[in-house]
Symmetry: C2
Protein backbone atom coordinates (compact mmCIF):
# COMPACT_ATOMS: atom_id res chain seq x y z
CA UNK A 1 0.00 0.00 0.00
CA UNK A 2 2.99 2.32 -0.42
CA UNK A 3 3.39 4.44 -3.53
CA UNK A 4 6.40 4.74 -5.78
CA UNK A 5 7.59 7.89 -4.08
CA UNK A 6 11.29 7.55 -3.37
CA UNK A 7 12.27 10.50 -1.26
CA UNK A 8 9.24 11.41 0.78
CA UNK A 9 6.31 9.62 2.32
CA UNK A 10 3.10 9.58 0.29
CA UNK A 11 0.55 12.22 1.25
CA UNK A 12 -2.52 10.46 -0.03
CA UNK A 13 -3.80 6.95 -0.27
CA UNK A 14 -2.71 5.24 -3.48
CA UNK A 15 -5.76 2.98 -3.31
CA UNK A 16 -8.04 3.47 -6.28
CA UNK A 17 -11.74 3.56 -5.54
CA UNK A 18 -13.02 1.94 -8.71
CA UNK A 19 -11.42 -1.44 -8.10
CA UNK A 20 -13.61 -4.49 -8.41
CA UNK A 21 -13.68 -7.44 -6.05
CA UNK A 22 -13.16 -10.93 -7.38
CA UNK A 23 -14.11 -14.23 -5.76
CA UNK A 24 -10.59 -15.63 -6.11
CA UNK A 25 -7.17 -14.89 -7.55
CA UNK A 26 -4.45 -16.75 -9.41
CA UNK A 27 -0.99 -15.80 -8.20
CA UNK A 28 2.30 -16.95 -9.76
CA UNK A 29 5.71 -16.64 -8.08
CA UNK A 30 8.42 -17.38 -10.60
CA UNK A 31 12.01 -16.38 -11.46
CA UNK A 32 15.41 -17.68 -10.37
CA UNK A 33 15.51 -15.82 -7.05
CA UNK A 34 14.58 -16.93 -3.58
CA UNK A 35 11.21 -16.40 -1.94
CA UNK A 36 8.86 -18.04 -4.45
CA UNK A 37 7.73 -20.85 -2.15
CA UNK A 38 8.33 -18.78 0.97
CA UNK A 39 5.93 -16.09 -0.21
CA UNK A 40 3.40 -18.78 -1.18
CA UNK A 41 3.57 -20.13 2.38
CA UNK A 42 3.18 -16.56 3.62
CA UNK A 43 -0.08 -16.34 1.66
CA UNK A 44 -1.16 -19.68 3.14
CA UNK A 45 -0.47 -18.24 6.58
CA UNK A 46 -2.54 -15.16 5.81
CA UNK A 47 -5.40 -17.26 4.42
CA UNK A 48 -5.41 -19.44 7.54
CA UNK A 49 -5.62 -16.20 9.53
CA UNK A 50 -8.84 -15.52 7.63
CA UNK A 51 -10.11 -19.02 8.40
CA UNK A 52 -9.84 -20.23 4.83
CA UNK A 53 -9.43 -23.90 4.14
CA UNK A 54 -5.91 -24.21 2.79
CA UNK A 55 -4.32 -27.01 0.84
CA UNK A 56 -0.63 -27.14 -0.06
CA UNK A 57 0.70 -29.56 -2.65
CA UNK A 58 4.44 -29.73 -3.11
CA UNK A 59 5.34 -31.16 -6.47
CA UNK A 60 9.02 -31.57 -5.67
CA UNK A 61 10.90 -31.87 -2.46
CA UNK A 62 14.54 -32.75 -2.07
CA UNK A 63 15.30 -34.72 1.03
CA UNK A 64 12.80 -36.24 3.40
CA UNK A 65 13.01 -33.86 6.33
CA UNK A 66 9.91 -32.10 7.48
CA UNK A 67 10.34 -28.37 6.92
CA UNK A 68 9.57 -25.67 9.43
CA UNK A 69 6.78 -24.31 7.26
CA UNK A 70 5.12 -27.72 6.89
CA UNK A 71 5.27 -28.18 10.65
CA UNK A 72 3.68 -24.80 11.34
CA UNK A 73 1.07 -24.62 8.56
CA UNK A 74 -0.10 -28.12 9.40
CA UNK A 75 -0.43 -27.12 13.02
CA UNK A 76 -2.57 -24.15 11.94
CA UNK A 77 -4.86 -26.46 10.00
CA UNK A 78 -3.51 -26.56 6.46
CA UNK A 79 -3.71 -29.80 4.55
CA UNK A 80 -0.24 -30.66 3.26
CA UNK A 81 0.81 -33.11 0.56
CA UNK A 82 4.41 -33.54 -0.49
CA UNK A 83 4.43 -35.43 -3.75
CA UNK A 84 8.17 -35.74 -3.60
CA UNK A 85 8.56 -37.25 -0.15
CA UNK A 86 11.75 -39.22 -0.33
CA UNK A 87 12.81 -37.40 -3.50
CA UNK A 88 16.46 -37.98 -4.36
CA UNK A 89 18.61 -37.22 -7.38
CA UNK A 90 18.71 -40.86 -8.40
CA UNK A 91 17.07 -41.52 -11.78
CA UNK A 92 15.03 -44.50 -10.58
CA UNK A 93 13.55 -42.35 -7.89
CA UNK A 94 13.02 -39.70 -10.56
CA UNK A 95 10.53 -41.98 -12.32
CA UNK A 96 8.69 -42.47 -9.07
CA UNK A 97 8.76 -38.73 -8.41
CA UNK A 98 7.15 -38.25 -11.80
CA UNK A 99 4.41 -40.70 -10.93
CA UNK A 100 3.85 -38.98 -7.59
CA UNK A 101 3.61 -35.60 -9.32
CA UNK A 102 1.00 -36.97 -11.70
CA UNK A 103 -1.07 -38.30 -8.80
CA UNK A 104 -0.63 -34.99 -6.96
CA UNK A 105 -1.86 -33.10 -10.01
CA UNK A 106 -4.99 -35.28 -10.25
CA UNK A 107 -5.73 -34.49 -6.65
CA UNK A 108 -5.11 -30.78 -7.22
CA UNK A 109 -7.47 -30.83 -10.20
CA UNK A 110 -10.13 -32.33 -7.93
CA UNK A 111 -9.72 -29.48 -5.44
CA UNK A 112 -10.02 -26.95 -8.28
CA UNK A 113 -13.16 -28.67 -9.56
CA UNK A 114 -14.95 -29.17 -6.25
CA UNK A 115 -13.92 -25.96 -4.49
CA UNK A 116 -13.20 -27.89 -1.30
CA UNK A 117 -10.60 -25.28 -0.26
CA UNK A 118 -10.39 -21.51 -0.59
CA UNK A 119 -6.64 -21.62 -1.20
CA UNK A 120 -4.66 -24.15 -3.17
CA UNK A 121 -0.87 -23.78 -3.22
CA UNK A 122 0.77 -25.68 -6.07
CA UNK A 123 4.37 -25.47 -4.95
CA UNK A 124 7.04 -26.01 -7.62
CA UNK A 125 4.42 -27.16 -10.09
CA UNK A 126 6.19 -25.33 -12.95
CA UNK A 127 8.93 -27.99 -13.01
CA UNK A 128 6.37 -30.76 -13.43
CA UNK A 129 5.01 -28.85 -16.42
CA UNK A 130 8.38 -27.89 -17.90
CA UNK A 131 9.65 -31.46 -17.66
CA UNK A 132 6.54 -32.78 -19.35
CA UNK A 133 5.36 -34.73 -16.31
CA UNK A 134 1.97 -33.06 -16.39
CA UNK A 135 0.23 -31.19 -19.19
CA UNK A 136 0.37 -27.39 -19.07
CA UNK A 137 -2.83 -27.26 -21.14
CA UNK A 138 -4.58 -29.39 -18.55
CA UNK A 139 -3.38 -27.15 -15.71
CA UNK A 140 -4.51 -24.02 -17.58
CA UNK A 141 -7.87 -25.60 -18.30
CA UNK A 142 -8.44 -26.78 -14.73
CA UNK A 143 -7.53 -23.37 -13.30
CA UNK A 144 -9.59 -21.44 -15.85
CA UNK A 145 -12.64 -23.59 -15.11
CA UNK A 146 -12.13 -23.90 -11.37
CA UNK A 147 -14.79 -23.44 -8.71
CA UNK A 148 -14.88 -19.62 -8.48
CA UNK A 149 -13.99 -19.44 -4.78
CA UNK A 150 -10.64 -21.23 -5.08
CA UNK A 151 -7.60 -18.96 -5.12
CA UNK A 152 -4.48 -20.60 -6.52
CA UNK A 153 -0.80 -19.89 -5.97
CA UNK A 154 1.67 -21.54 -8.35
CA UNK A 155 5.43 -21.45 -7.79
CA UNK A 156 8.61 -22.43 -9.60
CA UNK A 157 11.07 -21.14 -12.16
CA UNK A 158 10.16 -20.61 -15.79
CA UNK A 159 6.40 -20.40 -15.40
CA UNK A 160 4.95 -21.29 -18.83
CA UNK A 161 3.51 -18.36 -20.78
CA UNK A 162 0.05 -19.90 -20.78
CA UNK A 163 0.11 -19.90 -16.98
CA UNK A 164 1.23 -16.27 -16.87
CA UNK A 165 -1.64 -15.45 -19.25
CA UNK A 166 -4.34 -16.77 -16.90
CA UNK A 167 -2.76 -15.37 -13.72
CA UNK A 168 -3.99 -12.21 -12.02
CA UNK A 169 -0.65 -11.47 -10.39
CA UNK A 170 2.80 -12.69 -11.44
CA UNK A 171 5.89 -11.81 -9.47
CA UNK A 172 9.35 -12.63 -10.75
CA UNK A 173 11.85 -13.16 -7.97
CA UNK A 174 15.26 -11.99 -9.15
CA UNK A 175 18.44 -13.15 -7.50
CA UNK A 176 20.24 -9.88 -6.83
CA UNK A 177 22.63 -11.41 -4.31
CA UNK A 178 22.68 -14.92 -2.93
CA UNK A 179 24.48 -16.29 0.13
CA UNK A 180 24.99 -19.54 -1.79
CA UNK A 181 27.22 -17.84 -4.34
CA UNK A 182 29.36 -16.56 -1.47
CA UNK A 183 29.81 -20.18 -0.38
CA UNK A 184 27.32 -20.04 2.48
CA UNK A 185 25.17 -23.09 3.14
CA UNK A 186 21.39 -23.01 3.32
CA UNK A 187 20.40 -22.29 6.88
CA UNK A 188 17.82 -24.23 8.86
CA UNK A 189 15.19 -21.79 10.14
CA UNK A 190 15.75 -19.40 7.25
CA UNK A 191 15.94 -21.52 4.10
CA UNK A 192 14.01 -24.62 5.18
CA UNK B 1 17.23 -26.94 -4.45
CA UNK B 2 16.40 -27.30 -8.13
CA UNK B 3 19.01 -26.56 -10.77
CA UNK B 4 18.71 -24.27 -13.77
CA UNK B 5 17.86 -27.12 -16.10
CA UNK B 6 14.88 -26.10 -18.17
CA UNK B 7 13.78 -29.11 -20.12
CA UNK B 8 14.63 -32.09 -17.99
CA UNK B 9 14.87 -32.88 -14.32
CA UNK B 10 18.32 -32.64 -12.77
CA UNK B 11 20.17 -35.90 -12.41
CA UNK B 12 22.46 -34.93 -9.58
CA UNK B 13 22.27 -32.84 -6.47
CA UNK B 14 23.20 -29.22 -7.12
CA UNK B 15 24.28 -28.81 -3.51
CA UNK B 16 27.96 -27.98 -3.20
CA UNK B 17 29.85 -29.75 -0.48
CA UNK B 18 32.31 -27.01 0.46
CA UNK B 19 29.71 -24.60 1.76
CA UNK B 20 30.29 -23.07 5.16
CA UNK B 21 27.74 -22.63 7.88
CA UNK B 22 27.10 -19.22 9.39
CA UNK B 23 25.48 -18.38 12.73
CA UNK B 24 22.98 -16.01 11.12
CA UNK B 25 22.00 -14.41 7.82
CA UNK B 26 20.89 -11.02 6.59
CA UNK B 27 18.15 -11.27 3.97
CA UNK B 28 16.70 -8.37 1.97
CA UNK B 29 13.47 -8.54 -0.03
CA UNK B 30 13.19 -5.47 -2.23
CA UNK B 31 11.81 -4.36 -5.60
CA UNK B 32 8.43 -3.07 -6.75
CA UNK B 33 6.73 -6.45 -6.97
CA UNK B 34 4.59 -8.29 -4.49
CA UNK B 35 5.82 -10.86 -2.00
CA UNK B 36 8.47 -8.90 -0.11
CA UNK B 37 6.67 -8.90 3.23
CA UNK B 38 4.85 -12.12 2.48
CA UNK B 39 8.12 -13.98 1.98
CA UNK B 40 9.49 -12.39 5.16
CA UNK B 41 6.50 -13.75 7.07
CA UNK B 42 7.11 -17.10 5.39
CA UNK B 43 10.63 -17.07 6.85
CA UNK B 44 9.17 -16.16 10.25
CA UNK B 45 6.86 -19.16 9.94
CA UNK B 46 9.78 -21.42 9.10
CA UNK B 47 11.86 -20.06 11.97
CA UNK B 48 9.00 -20.64 14.42
CA UNK B 49 8.87 -24.21 13.08
CA UNK B 50 12.49 -24.52 14.22
CA UNK B 51 11.59 -23.08 17.62
CA UNK B 52 13.42 -19.84 17.08
CA UNK B 53 12.41 -16.75 19.00
CA UNK B 54 10.93 -14.47 16.36
CA UNK B 55 10.28 -10.78 16.48
CA UNK B 56 8.47 -8.85 13.75
CA UNK B 57 8.57 -5.06 13.60
CA UNK B 58 6.40 -3.39 11.00
CA UNK B 59 7.63 0.10 10.26
CA UNK B 60 4.58 1.09 8.24
CA UNK B 61 1.07 -0.17 8.18
CA UNK B 62 -1.84 1.41 6.40
CA UNK B 63 -5.12 0.93 8.18
CA UNK B 64 -5.64 -0.43 11.63
CA UNK B 65 -6.95 -3.89 10.90
CA UNK B 66 -5.13 -6.89 12.21
CA UNK B 67 -3.78 -8.88 9.30
CA UNK B 68 -4.08 -12.61 8.85
CA UNK B 69 -0.33 -13.05 9.18
CA UNK B 70 -0.18 -11.07 12.43
CA UNK B 71 -3.00 -13.18 13.84
CA UNK B 72 -1.30 -16.44 12.93
CA UNK B 73 2.35 -15.62 13.70
CA UNK B 74 1.33 -14.22 17.06
CA UNK B 75 -0.59 -17.38 17.80
CA UNK B 76 2.54 -19.38 16.95
CA UNK B 77 4.57 -17.34 19.42
CA UNK B 78 6.07 -14.48 17.41
CA UNK B 79 6.40 -11.12 19.08
CA UNK B 80 4.74 -8.52 16.87
CA UNK B 81 5.09 -4.75 16.87
CA UNK B 82 3.33 -2.55 14.35
CA UNK B 83 4.90 0.88 14.52
CA UNK B 84 2.27 2.23 12.19
CA UNK B 85 -0.85 1.11 14.02
CA UNK B 86 -3.43 3.63 13.04
CA UNK B 87 -1.31 4.84 10.13
CA UNK B 88 -3.28 7.03 7.72
CA UNK B 89 -2.34 9.22 4.77
CA UNK B 90 -2.96 12.36 6.75
CA UNK B 91 0.16 14.50 7.22
CA UNK B 92 -0.37 15.04 10.96
CA UNK B 93 -0.50 11.31 11.45
CA UNK B 94 2.57 11.11 9.25
CA UNK B 95 4.60 12.95 11.88
CA UNK B 96 3.38 10.55 14.52
CA UNK B 97 4.18 7.61 12.20
CA UNK B 98 7.70 8.97 11.94
CA UNK B 99 8.04 9.13 15.70
CA UNK B 100 6.68 5.60 16.04
CA UNK B 101 9.17 4.37 13.43
CA UNK B 102 12.02 5.97 15.35
CA UNK B 103 10.92 4.26 18.56
CA UNK B 104 10.51 0.97 16.69
CA UNK B 105 14.04 1.27 15.32
CA UNK B 106 15.47 1.85 18.81
CA UNK B 107 13.76 -1.30 19.97
CA UNK B 108 15.02 -3.22 16.92
CA UNK B 109 18.56 -2.03 17.63
CA UNK B 110 18.21 -3.40 21.14
CA UNK B 111 17.22 -6.83 19.80
CA UNK B 112 20.21 -6.76 17.44
CA UNK B 113 22.53 -5.85 20.30
CA UNK B 114 21.25 -8.28 22.93
CA UNK B 115 20.47 -11.25 20.68
CA UNK B 116 17.17 -11.78 22.45
CA UNK B 117 15.67 -13.35 19.30
CA UNK B 118 17.04 -15.60 16.58
CA UNK B 119 15.01 -13.85 13.89
CA UNK B 120 14.22 -10.18 13.56
CA UNK B 121 11.95 -9.12 10.70
CA UNK B 122 12.18 -5.41 9.91
CA UNK B 123 9.18 -5.08 7.66
CA UNK B 124 9.07 -2.05 5.34
CA UNK B 125 12.07 -0.55 7.09
CA UNK B 126 13.50 0.69 3.77
CA UNK B 127 10.88 3.45 3.60
CA UNK B 128 11.86 4.72 7.04
CA UNK B 129 15.45 4.94 5.77
CA UNK B 130 14.59 6.40 2.37
CA UNK B 131 12.40 9.07 3.90
CA UNK B 132 15.11 10.02 6.37
CA UNK B 133 13.12 8.94 9.43
CA UNK B 134 15.94 6.72 10.62
CA UNK B 135 19.62 6.72 9.70
CA UNK B 136 20.74 4.13 7.16
CA UNK B 137 24.27 4.31 8.60
CA UNK B 138 22.91 3.45 12.02
CA UNK B 139 20.96 0.50 10.65
CA UNK B 140 24.02 -0.77 8.78
CA UNK B 141 26.14 -0.39 11.88
CA UNK B 142 23.65 -2.12 14.18
CA UNK B 143 23.26 -5.05 11.78
CA UNK B 144 26.99 -5.35 11.13
CA UNK B 145 27.72 -5.45 14.86
CA UNK B 146 24.71 -7.51 15.90
CA UNK B 147 24.78 -10.45 18.27
CA UNK B 148 26.00 -13.22 15.92
CA UNK B 149 22.95 -15.46 16.35
CA UNK B 150 20.38 -12.92 15.15
CA UNK B 151 19.23 -13.39 11.56
CA UNK B 152 17.62 -10.32 10.05
CA UNK B 153 15.11 -9.92 7.25
CA UNK B 154 14.57 -6.42 5.85
CA UNK B 155 11.80 -5.58 3.40
CA UNK B 156 10.65 -2.66 1.27
CA UNK B 157 11.25 -1.00 -2.06
CA UNK B 158 14.50 0.70 -2.95
CA UNK B 159 16.75 -0.96 -0.39
CA UNK B 160 19.72 1.39 0.10
CA UNK B 161 22.98 0.21 -1.45
CA UNK B 162 24.69 0.09 1.94
CA UNK B 163 22.03 -2.40 3.11
CA UNK B 164 22.48 -4.53 0.00
CA UNK B 165 26.25 -4.50 0.66
CA UNK B 166 25.92 -6.05 4.13
CA UNK B 167 23.21 -8.55 3.15
CA UNK B 168 23.92 -12.21 2.46
CA UNK B 169 20.91 -12.65 0.21
CA UNK B 170 18.99 -9.98 -1.69
CA UNK B 171 15.95 -10.82 -3.76
CA UNK B 172 14.33 -8.25 -6.00
CA UNK B 173 10.63 -8.87 -6.49
CA UNK B 174 9.64 -7.73 -9.97
CA UNK B 175 6.07 -6.95 -10.86
CA UNK B 176 5.55 -9.00 -14.02
CA UNK B 177 1.77 -8.79 -13.85
CA UNK B 178 -0.41 -7.31 -11.14
CA UNK B 179 -4.13 -7.76 -10.50
CA UNK B 180 -4.25 -4.15 -9.33
CA UNK B 181 -3.36 -2.86 -12.78
CA UNK B 182 -6.27 -4.88 -14.16
CA UNK B 183 -8.53 -2.99 -11.74
CA UNK B 184 -8.82 -5.81 -9.22
CA UNK B 185 -8.92 -4.92 -5.53
CA UNK B 186 -6.57 -6.38 -2.93
CA UNK B 187 -8.14 -9.54 -1.59
CA UNK B 188 -8.50 -10.41 2.07
CA UNK B 189 -6.86 -13.79 2.69
CA UNK B 190 -4.42 -13.31 -0.19
CA UNK B 191 -3.11 -9.75 0.05
CA UNK B 192 -3.67 -9.06 3.75
Amino acid sequence: MVTDSDDAPPTESPIRSELRRVPSLVVVNTGDGKGKSTAAFGIALRALGREWRVRVIQFLKSGDWKTGEEEMLTRLGAEWWSAGDGFTWDSTDMESSKQLAIVAWRSAAETLRTGSHELLVLDEITYAMTWGWISTDEVVDAISNRAPTVSVVLTGRNAPGAIVDIADTVTTMVDTKHAYHAGIAAKRGIDY
